[in-house]
Every structure is written in structure tokens, then in C-alpha cells.
């Protein structure tokens, strides 16, 4: 029987329009506990709106987003309005989405970025795929680079235009309507709702308090009641559309204003950022940080016990024009370096050279050549000539390595001689020669990029995640009218339609039955 009154209720009682009967506070018999409603909207403000608000028309009742075009702004001339109404057409938007999905699927089926010869052979004219599809289609429509093809980008742009048009002509007017609210003055209108019930001997004030306790915003005017909750669920689709537009804008900026480049640097050498970074689009403008020099201090690989690579590390130093070190960081996969808008990623590795000594001579630096590269199954090899290096069929010792960890050595005849680890100092003896593998020098594969679109895209991502979640909420509206001692209640919701009647019944069960039959 504890009734906690929050400021909202006091506010509610002061409102000039609600005129609560004194009975409202004195003879209440419900035991519901009130919570502070989540949506913080000033009630007095909204109530003053109600006088001028026309009743919600049938046309704008439609759910969520999309739908046929509504009224645009008055300043627009006829043609743009027509374009808008065409663009905001839901079937058109669905067609666009289907087309984009189909094009993307096609882009994964057709090999991307191959040479023209490849397509001539794979899609020949005399034996078309599916009876009609030849290389001519591919080159006319640019399907060999689908995701930058005019047809694909054009569809995306069209979808973006549809998004904006739909937001402008359909969603925003819907918000205006949803913000207005109106009381229903007749039993019939209330009974027409998706959910309707008639409570004999019940008071509208009791219902108001119970609804408020369940998180509804409640407005009352004489015998009429209007309540809603989950209005954010009604607005969130707009947020989804705006977030999509943000992502598209950010993506465009990324595509036009980025620099990218990759470089393979042996340990101990350096490079200048600006030499590696190449512009992607016409908006790409280099910055001062492009003069920064990157020095690879050390490149190492971590291994699992099974011998597989677990991680790559590159110890990088950044030096400005004066040679002063401005930043030093060890990067690895998933842990890039960021400096002055440039991001340096660890993406690849290579075997640069092998340091060996022969009979105490040297050390010689033998360059390692890639023999077979198939994914991460890399194989590098080098050759140490023995005897007269000018002879036509020079013989020597071959060394092969899959990683920086162990080197396989073959003798002059090509027979397996042994495996040595660099730094082990353990010599291997071949035909009387003592070979010591001193060190294995790796190269780090770095990828550099600047991307001005990332902040916008990330903002879009955040907004999209948030608004998609909020969109799950249902916007529920309830009307009630006191008719003598009978209370007519009706309501509807836009998403959780099946749960709504249950929720309503649960709430209405709490409404106390009046014993005294005089209301107002």
C-alpha cells in the first residue's frame, strides 16, 4: 500500500487541464508502485500542444519507416517534390536493395581484378556461360571490378538518395504526428483499436497511475486518457537511416581522400612514409607527417610449440626531418602504430638474408629468394657456391627455410645434410667445410594508410548499432474514456503486437474495482 509520488505526478496534478478529482489521492485502493518514467518529456509543454493538435489521421498511421511519400516542405517546387515522392517509394527502395544484393553476389561469383585475358578464356564468346554471359558483359558493365563499377556505385548512390528522400518525406512527418497526441472522444474510436476492453466500475485516474507505474507517459483531460511508451522505437528508424547515410558519406570520403601503400623492409633499414603512400582519389592531400622516416629496428616472429607462427613483431622508430626520434613502438598484427594520421599495420613478412660463415671466413650475407609462396606456406632458399664461382656448372650448398626458426641444409650433391637453428653457433660439416649459420634476417611487411573517412564511418557505426537496438522497442499507445462508471480502454502497438494484449490484461487486472459508484 505504499505509494511513492514522484515529481512527475505532482506536476501532472498541477496541470490546468487534467483537473483530477480530490478522490484521486484520498481513496485509492491500488497497491501499485510507481516508477519514474524513462522518457523525460515535460508534460505541461505537451499538454499545451494538445489544444491545437488535430487528431491523428488514418493515412499517417502506417508503421515504422518507408511507405508512400507524404508532404514535403512548402518551399519545394513541383518537380523536386515529384522526384522526392518517387525516391521515397518503398517498392523502389526494396528493388534497389535487391539489385545491390544481387550485384554484390555476382561480384563474389565473378573473379575480381584479373587480367583481360583471364576473362577472355573464362567467359568465351563461342561458349557463353548460361547461354548468354560472355566477357563482353563483364567489360561493358565493369563486372571485373564490381565494387568500384559505375553500375554498383550508381545503385548505392540511388539507395542513398532514397534513404534521404524517405527520411524527409515519410519519417520526419511521422515523427511530427507521433509527437502530437490526441484524446479519443468516443467509445467507438477506442473500440476500433487493435486491443480494446471495457471495464465496468473503474476509474480513469486509477488506470492513469497504473500506466505511469508501468513506464507510460500519461496525459489526461477530463474523462479522457492518452498514454504512450517506447516513442524512441518509433524514432529510431530515422536514426538508422541517418547512420546509413553517415556511413555512405564516410565511405565516399575514404574512397576519395585516402593514401595507401605497402612496403617490405629488411630489419635495420628505413623508409620515408611519403615514398610508400600513394593517393587513392582526387581528394587525397598529403600532410606534414609524410616526411617522417620509419626505421625498422627489429623484426621478430613468435612461434607455438608446434612450430607454427603465433605472432609477428616489428620494432619501429619514427624520426622527423631533423632525425629526432618522435615515436617508438613495437607493432604486431592487431596492434598498429598511429602517428599524424598515418597508420602502420603489420601485415606480412619475408626472409631477407642469411648470414653464414664458411671455415671461419665471412660472415657472408646470402640473399634469400622466395621459392614458393602459397598463403603462409612460404619457402625461401639460398645458395652458397663452393669452388670456382666462374665455372659453368658451379656447385654449392643449398639452404632452405620455411621461417626464421630453422634452416635446412643440403650438400653439393643435393642430399640432405642437416637442420640448424640460427644463433645456435653449431657448425655443420659438409665435405670438410664448416658452415655456421650466424643469423637469419627477416623483412617486415608493413601496410601504411591514411583514411580521413574513418571518424565519420565510426560515428555512423555507433549510431547504427544504437538505433538498430532502439528500433526493437515497441511504440505502444493507449486511449481510455470514462463513460459514467464504465471505463473503455483501447490501444495499439507497432511491433510486439502479440505481447501487447497480455501486457494490457496484466495492467487492467490491477485497476481496482470501484465500490462507490460516483465518479466526478
Amino acid at each position: 500500500m505504499i505509494l511513492t509520488l514522484n515529481p512527475k505526478i505532482l506536476h501532472f496534478s498541477k496541470s490546468p487541464l487534467s483537473r483530477p478529482s480530490p478522490r484521486f489521492y484520498r481513496s485509492r485502493t491500488t497497491s501499485c508502485k510507481l516508477q519514474n518514467p524513462q522518457d523525460g518529456k515535460s508534460i505541461t509543454k505537451t499538454i499545451s500542444l494538445s489544444d491545437s493538435a488535430p487528431p491523428i489521421s488514418e493515412k499517417t498511421d502506417g508503421g515504422g519507416n518507408g511507405g508512400g511519400g507524404g508532404g514535403g516542405g512548402g518551399f519545394l517546387k513541383r518537380l523536386p517534390r515529384k522526384v522526392l515522392s518517387v525516391l521515397s517509394n518503398l517498392p523502389l527502395a526494396i528493388t534497389e536493395m535487391f539489385t545491390i544484393a544481387a550485384l554484390m553476389a555476382l561480384g563474389t561469383v565473378i573473379e575480381q581484378g584479373e587480367t583481360p585475358d583471364f576473362y577472355f578464356q573464362k567467359y568465351p564468346e563461342d561458349n557463353p556461360v548460361l547461354g548468354f554471359f560472355t566477357w563482353r558483359w563483364i567489360f561493358t558493365l565493369g563486372l571485373d571490378h564490381m565494387y568500384s563499377a559505375p553500375i554498383f556505385l550508381g545503385m548505392l548512390a540511388l539507395l542513398g538518395a532514397s534513404l534521404m528522400a524517405c527520411t524527409y518525406t515519410t519519417q520526419i512527418p511521422l515523427v511530427k504526428v507521433a509527437r502530437r497526441w490526441s484524446f479519443m472522444k468516443s467509445d467507438e474510436a477506442i473500440k476500433k483499436q487493435d486491443f480494446a476492453d471495457t471495464l465496468p466500475r473503474a476509474s480513469v485516474q486509477d488506470l492513469g497511475v497504473i500506466l505511469m507505474g508501468d513506464g507510460y507517459e500519461v496525459f489526461m483531460k477530463g474523462p479522457s486518457l492518452y498514454a504512450f511508451k517506447g516513442l524512441a522505437g518509433r524514432f529510431a528508424p530515422i536514426g538508422v537511416h541517418i547512420a546509413m547515410i553517415l556511413i555512405m558519406v564516410g565511405g565516399t570520403l575514404s574512397a576519395t581522400g585516402s593514401f595507401r601503400g605497402s612496403v617490405t623492409v629488411p630489419q635495420g633499414l628505413n623508409f620515408v612514409m611519403g615514398d610508400v603512400l600513394g593517393p587513392i582519389g582526387f581528394l587525397s592531400v598529403p600532410t606534414d607527417s609524410f616526411n617522417t622516416e620509419v626505421h625498422v629496428n627489429r623484426f621478430t616472429m613468435d612461434y607455438y610449440d608446434s612450430g607454427e607462427v603465433s605472432q609477428f613483431h616489428s620494432d619501429l622508430s619514427l624520426r622527423d626531418l631533423n632525425g629526432k626520434e618522435v615515436l617508438r613502438k613495437t607493432i604486431s598484427v592487431n596492434d598498429p602504430l598511429r602517428y599524424g594520421g598515418v597508420t602502420i599495420y603489420q601485415t606480412d613478412w619475408s626472409f631477407s638474408a642469411l648470414q653464414v660463415t664458411k671455415d671461419g671466413e665471412g660472415p657472408f650475407n646470402l640473399a634469400m629468394a622466395p621459392i614458393k609462396i602459397n598463403g603462409d606456406k612460404k619457402l625461401y632458399g639460398t645458395f652458397l657456391p663452393v669452388g670456382d664461382t666462374n665455372a659453368p656448372n658451379v656447385k654449392g650448398i643449398s639452404m632452405l627455410a620455411r621461417d626464421l626458426q630453422s634452416i635446412v641444409v643440403y650438400d653439393l650433391e643435393g642430399k640432405f645434410a642437416g637442420i640448424r637453428r640460427p644463433n645456435s653457433k653449431l657448425p655443420i660439416e659438409i665435405d670438410g667445410m664448416k658452415i655456421v649459420i650466424e643469423d637469419a634476417i627477416g623483412s617486415t611487411g608493413l601496410e601504411l594508410k591514411t583514411d580521413p573517412g574513418v571518424p565519420i564511418v565510426y560515428a555512423g557505426f555507433g549510431a547504427l548499432m544504437l538505433t538498430t537496438c532502439i528500433s526493437y522497442l515497441s511504440h505502444s499507445q493507449i486511449w481510455a474514456l470514462q463513460n459514467g462508471t464504465t471505463l473503455v480502454v483501447g490501444g495499439r502497438t507497432n511491433r510486439a503486437k502479440n505481447d501487447f494484449p497480455d501486457d494490457m490484461n496484466r495492467l487492467l487486472d490491477q485497476v481496482p474495482e470501484l465500490i462507490k459508484t460516483s465518479v466526478d
Partner: protein, 326 residues
């Protein structure tokens, strides 16, 4: 050693319990008796046991492999059946329903596939390639699999809706459509099972056999299916969105770009687009459930392409055969 034994036991427990649950369904189909209702309720407890079994299994793997158990297809399949179990439990807690007629066969099918010989060397917990060593793994993959689970569940409900609707049409054109109907039944036998199941339970409750009430219940069932598939797909769509976006952020940390048009990314985006279309069709009040159901069943196919097809071909950045060698 103890971990692998524990894992073995838990796998068998969850698999056999979910088999028993399925068996109970078949029994309720065959034997239309009142005492079976008790059995029917116990199947929900079965799903709860399965849920704990799989949870234990995942934790065991987590402890002994030292990383979040979502690094290969086997683990993701186990996680998917876990997702089905959790969808069932959550929706059951919210409102008593017979959703497990969809979730239980799905879970058993996925588990059976995961533990069968098809993926021979998969159950060994693999080492993590460098690109996967990130906190994002947990967020991205779990969200994606939860999304797949919810969307699969929702689109299965839509397929069930289609089957039931077509049955109605089929009975009027019985002679012409026998073959198509047969094919449909063959294809969606699980869902027919669902339908019959649902009808049986309703009939049991109502004890009425009039064709009028049958039609009424069929209509109600279609409404229910439509509603549940909408709600579950909406939920799955949220998971998919969060999954794709967290994947994009991760890619920006690892591969140097938030979007690479990698086949898996592209197919996830296609799936996302299709379910976005579904949700847009749903906003139209006058549209019948059947239109959106067709889109959802298309989405069902797309999820499988996205989930398996790309992996089987082993193309792109998501193959994990390579250290981003492109």
C-alpha cells in the same frame, strides 16, 4: 587429458538429451494421448539441460585452449547450437510457446553435423593465427553466430508459414500440385513437423475436430508464425548489425581497412540487406505475411552460403589459411 574426457562427456550429454527431446516430439506426433502432455513439458527441461551441457563444453574448451572457443568451424557450430538453445530459453521464459519444435531439431542437426565424421580434424582445438589474436574475436564472432542462430530460427518459422499457406492452396488444387506439394513437404519436413505438432497441441487443448475451428486455428497459427518470425528476425538483425560493424572495426585494426569486399564480408552484407528488405516489407501493414516470408526463406539460404559456402571454398581473408597475404 581430463579436459578432453570432460569435453567428451559433455558433448554426449548434450547430444543425447537433445535427441531425447526430438524423440518426444515424434512420440507426441504418433501417440495422440493426454498423458503425453507431461512428456511434452519435459522436453523444455531437456533443452535447458542441453543448454548447460553446451555451456560447460564451451567453457572446457576455453580453459584448456586458452582462447575464446570460436576459432574454427567446429567451435562455431557448437556455439550455434548453443545460440539455438538460448533463443529457445529466452523466448520460453518470456512467453510459453512451442518454439522448441524449431530450435530443438535445429540444435540436434547442427550438433550432429559438428560431431559427425564430416569435419574430421576439426574438433582439435586449433592454434590462433596472428590475425585472430584480438579481443574483437569474442565480440565479432559471438555476435555473428548469435545473429545467424536467431535469423535461421526466424526464417525457419517463415518457411513454416509458407508451407502451411501453400498446404491450404494445395488442397484446392490438389491434383495439379501433388508433386510440388510432395517436394515442399520433403524439403521442409521439419517445419511440417512443427505445424502438425502445433496443431496437435492445440487440438489436444481444445478437443475439437471441426473443420471450421481447424481453419480458424490454422489462421491463428499463421499469425503466430508471422509474429514470432518477425520478432526473432528483428532480434537477429540487431546481432548481425553489431557483428558486422564490430568486424569492420576489427578489420580496420588488423587488415588496414574497415571494408575489404572480402567474400565473407560481402555475403554477410548481402544477408543483412535481405533481412533489411524483410523488415521494410513488414512495415507495410497491408502486405501479407507471405511476401515477407518468401524474403525470409531466401535469407535462410543466404545465411548458409555466408556461413558455410565461403568457408568451404576457402577464399578471401576469412579462410585463416593465410596471414593476410593479399
Amino acid at each position: 587429458m581430463i579436459f578432453s574426457i570432460l569435453e567428451h562427456i559433455l558433448t554426449h550429454i548434450s547430444f543425447s538429451v537433445v535427441s531425447i527431446v526430438l524423440l518426444i516430439y515424434f512420440l507426441t506426433l504418433l501417440v495422440n494421448l493426454d498423458e503425453i502432455i507431461g512428456f511434452f513439458d519435459s522436453s523444455d527441461k531437456g533443452i535447458v539441460i542441453t543448454f548447460f551441457g553446451i555451456t560447460g563444453l564451451l567453457f572446457t574448451r576455453w580453459i584448456y585452449s586458452g582462447h575464446f572457443p570460436l576459432s574454427n568451424l567446429y567451435e562455431s557450430l557448437i556455439f550455434l547450437s548453443w545460440a539455438f538453445a538460448i533463443i529457445h530459453i529466452v523466448s520460453y521464459l518470456k512467453k510459453k510457446n512451442h518454439l522448441n519444435a524449431i530450435t530443438a531439431p535445429s540444435a540436434i542437426f547442427i550438433q550432429g553435423f559438428a560431431t559427425s565424421g564430416l569435419l574430421n580434424n576439426m574438433p582439435q582445438s586449433a592454434i590462433l593465427v596472428p590475425a585472430l589474436q584480438s579481443q574483437w574475436l569474442m565480440m565479432h564472432v559471438s555476435m555473428m553466430i548469435l545473429g545467424y542462430g536467431a535469423l535461421l530460427c526466424g526464417s525457419l518459422l517463415s518457411i513454416a508459414l509458407l508451407v502451411i499457406t501453400f498446404r491450404k492452396v494445395g488442397s484446392t488444387f490438389w491434383k495439379n500440385n501433388t508433386k510440388t506439394k510432395f517436394l515442399l513437404n520433403e524439403l521442409f519436413s521439419f517445419d511440417v513437423l512443427y505445424y502438425i505438432n502445433e496443431r496437435n497441441s492445440i487440438l489436444l487443448q481444445q478437443n475439437s475436430n471441426f473443420s471450421f475451428s481447424r481453419n480458424y486455428y490454422r489462421y491463428q497459427l499463421i499469425e503466430q508464425l508471422d509474429y514470432w518470425s518477425f520478432r526473432i528476425i528483428s532480434l537477429g538483425f540487431i546481432f548481425l548489425t553489431v557483428g558486422i560493424l564490430s568486424g569492420a572495426v576489427w578489420a580496420n585494426e588488423t587488415w588496414g581497412s574497415y571494408w575489404n569486399w572480402d567474400p565473407k564480408e560481402t555475403w554477410a552484407f548481402i544477408t543483412w540487406t535481405i533481412f533489411a528488405i524483410y523488415l521494410h516489407i513488414k512495415t507495410n501493414r497491408n502486405a501479407r505475411g507471405i511476401n515477407s516470408a518468401i524474403v525470409a526463406s531466401l535469407g535462410f539460404l543466404l545465411i548458409w552460403i555466408c556461413y558455410f559456402g565461403v568457408n568451404l571454398l576457402g577464399i578471401g581473408l576469412h579462410s585463416y589459411g593465410s596471414f593476410t597475404s593479399n
